[in-house]
Symmetry: C2
Subunit: 375 residues, 2 copies
Amino acid sequence: MSRGAGGASMAGPVVDKGADFANYFCTYAFLYHQKEMLSDSVRMDAYHASIFKNTKHFKNKIVLDVGTGSGILAIWAAQAGAKKVYAVEATKMAEHARQLAAGNGVQDIVEVIEGSIEDVELPEMVDVIISEWMGYFLIRESMFDSVIKARDRWLKPTGVMYPSHARMWVAPIRSGLGKAKLQDYENVMVDWDSFIQDTNDYYGVNMSVLTKPFQEEQKKYYLQTALWNNLHPSQIIGAPFIAKEFDCLTASLKDAASVHSSFQVELWEGQLKLSGFAGWFDVQFKGRAEDPADQIIELTTSPSAEKSTHWGQQVFLLQPPLDYECGNIIEGQLDITRAKDNHRLMDLKFTHRLIRSRDANGVLAPFTCSDFYLE
Amino acid sequence: MSRGAGGASMAGPVVDKGADFANYFCTYAFLYHQKEMLSDSVRMDAYHASIFKNTKHFKNKIVLDVGTGSGILAIWAAQAGAKKVYAVEATKMAEHARQLAAGNGVQDIVEVIEGSIEDVELPEMVDVIISEWMGYFLIRESMFDSVIKARDRWLKPTGVMYPSHARMWVAPIRSGLGKAKLQDYENVMVDWDSFIQDTNDYYGVNMSVLTKPFQEEQKKYYLQTALWNNLHPSQIIGAPFIAKEFDCLTASLKDAASVHSSFQVELWEGQLKLSGFAGWFDVQFKGRAEDPADQIIELTTSPSAEKSTHWGQQVFLLQPPLDYECGNIIEGQLDITRAKDNHRLMDLKFTHRLIRSRDANGVLAPFTCSDFYLE
């Protein structure tokens, strides 16, 4: 449905820049949203420590901050001794970043550049690329693409990536949300039925041909759209597995474009309901092999009883949930590709089956496919 | 902030079509949203009656439906005897409209065309243009522009507009919402102050240069953005006045682009607080002077104890509200122009003062300006 001219993305189809700006970047132009991210202490502590526990990577170095937002990472890099920091920001937030740099006395070090990183020209190659590019379940927003492109173009051969590594995690979970969502969906469909009746009776138009498309639209909305959730660790009912790992120094656009991961997880005792799956991520700041960090820092968004992040976890609920017995195994495959009409959103497919002990004599259940949307 | 290529709007600045689609049209691609409009019985009854009480305007006529959505108006026009109905829809909803026409046996009459009305080529001129183009406070969405362009291009000199007339109404009101919004705003600012303190203490960055822009952003959001509300008639505290009238047959793009209206309203007894203003609209289906409707139908979205519409009223709250005495007069001017960065949204300015009886000896209070955003 995208129309008009636009820039070509190296990763695939043509992206309409106007639509992309309206759909995506505009959010980051609000200070309220910046504040939300700046108030996320897990995020802030990790980036702060990654810089100030590893000042050797910043002292007298040239730094590029991709998507600087309010400019916090660029300012920290300057405070840690950087010789120069190029802070690139696509939205009008760039003006605020410039003010903030000046307000903190680093205006001579931090050069804020308003523009998209793909279009920007820097006068020199950089020693460090720092960026907070992670979206929900790591890859939503597809901002890693921009970091990869910046790396390929501007990072010196000896350069360091901050963060250096990233991982996508998935775990089977139990959750009460599925039941509530199913109820919402059913209520909407009951309401639709009386709407069809009324429109026919009062206005002489039979709308029943729209029932199936409406059902699909509502099913997608209520049952197949990933839910933001702050899970308690006790909701995890089997060992989390890594669905994808990235070495930020070597990952390609192709690597970032999709996920294909098979899994086999034994379900833990004490629970008897598999509601679905949760996805989250962590990133590490390790420096590079020849120039490792003095202190490795990790930022994790995994379920935690103490700490939550603005990313939370993304929850994918099976309808209906699966009853299982202790020792059963959930096995299958997770495939993630980008949404056709918006490269920053994702389509997910869980192909799964439960291996029960009573099937041990060779009779395995068929696989079931569950489609989800990370929107 | 808009970037990339786009089509030129006759009314003014260049519009980025990709961004416009992402910001605006996308909403109408959801059946859920169509259902909301189709369930608005004030809207449905008025359009239904306008057609079926005036079938002479449709029988054996060529009709154009601008922005057909689910296709309901086009189908009604066909049921009323139209020879041909061109139903133009910019979104994928066009497919559903086509199905719905077929499901109601009028696929040979109703020709659904997917595209924006500005780009569409019709094989002939039309006798009637019907359209449900009204946004909040009538002019939000600026869809009337598209209807005007369609009229200038496709309506026969003897043609009829459905609706034929439209009016924007404004009235002084009392409301409890202002207090709640002010409290929300103040809470956010208190929270901001501790955020500034924490960011300075824990992360060594002084964010106070952002306080003013944050305050402005939040003020706009909580205090200056028009609120959707379903007012009770008793909340109106002075005679509503017409801020703008359109004859849909003759209105120009320039007419539709702005509103400049002065007012002088005596405040009614029994109330002592002027909280702000409310805006709504009505439209009439009168046919044209030489070819008047058999029965004039009106669709009004004014405050009503019995009937509400999905449009409701738009409320603009003064901070602080004004205390008045019986017989005081609120006078001033309302200026509405289009938002700079989105031609479908509006900037409003109420320039107002209260004329108190005690000022009768010549001392008048100065005017106060209150800016609002219809988003």
